[in-house]
Amino acid sequence: MLRNTKDSFGLVSILFHWIIGFIFLGQIALGYLMVRVSDFTLQFSLYQWHKSFGFLVLGLSAFRLLWKAANARPRDLASMGQMERVAAHGAHIALYASLFIVPLTGWAVASSSPLQIPTFMFNLVVIPQLPIAISDSAEAFWSASHAWLAYLSAVIAVAHILAALHHHFWKRDTVLIRMLRPNAAKRRHQAIKLTGKSS
């Protein structure tokens, strides 16, 4: 139930996937909005939430990677073609990389800013600054890197989501189902019935 098998994802992997996924996409929306808010008080607050959730993503992703390393990787479904597998794995690798690179570049923004605003994660833990150059130009560089990498990862995430929906509604296989239900392989038949299809 908790662990992956060679055919299915366990509960832990599923929770990591959805929790991190929702926070990550929420962070992209928050990041887009917070730089466009004109009210300084609200903006300050939104930046602090964005930093706190960014470190949450980074921390959860580290544990997720450890969990992934300690678990079986469920096989690709037989219904997937070679190109499809390559594309899916490429997207997964890019998304995993994004979960680390995007928060790290965000950390670099906070660390390089001459404002040197402390990161007080959820008002609980002070996160130290990275030992990098502090200047307006360094901050501008990291800000641009952070934003564009985030938007690039959003594009990949959208492709990932559309692919999952394609599998579920068009190909009517269990690609999405097995990321929703722990150890769904045994219930594959039932899942297929629930979708109203009988492939």
Partner: protein, 197 residues
Amino acid sequence: MSTTSGLFSTVLRAGIAALLAASPVGAQADTLSEVAGRYNIQPSSRVAFTVTQVGGGGINGNFKKFSGVFSLNNSDISRSTINFTLYPESVSTGQARVESFLRSDAVFDSANFPTITFKSTQITQTSPDTAEVAGILTARGKSSPASFQANLSDHGKNSITFHVQGKVMRSRYGMDVGTPIYSNVVQFDMIIRGQRS
């Protein structure tokens, strides 16, 4: 501002102390009358502040523009008074973005509230050369009690200098943005120079 009232009480005390220590009774009265009077706060004064932040360090700055008067009462220090006005638009921190943030409606809202004022209500001598200056601080349209400790540093025939320190809770004036990352306590450290008017 509160600093100033502290200053004059300090001066009075110092005068008294000097009189008691070194002078015959008649001389004491002379010293007091020498220090007593009305003073204008000079632009050479310094109004600096610090707001600490979590993890160490903080924001240091000062206000370039201010004005005020204080009068030292030679018969009763507690009847001395100070009025001080600060122009938050003149805040300086060495970091333009921090300054524009401080001037904005997130903090001082200097466009709508161009002045911060302090009027003493009670000056209490605490030692031969120190006094506590209690008063009402008004900022962003909110008034709340605040108090400062004044220490007499120097005085001449027509001038007097006080070192004034005090802590102000910014949340009382609707300026609590950034807490708890930045402390709610603003620590003032001022050198108030008065010139007899």
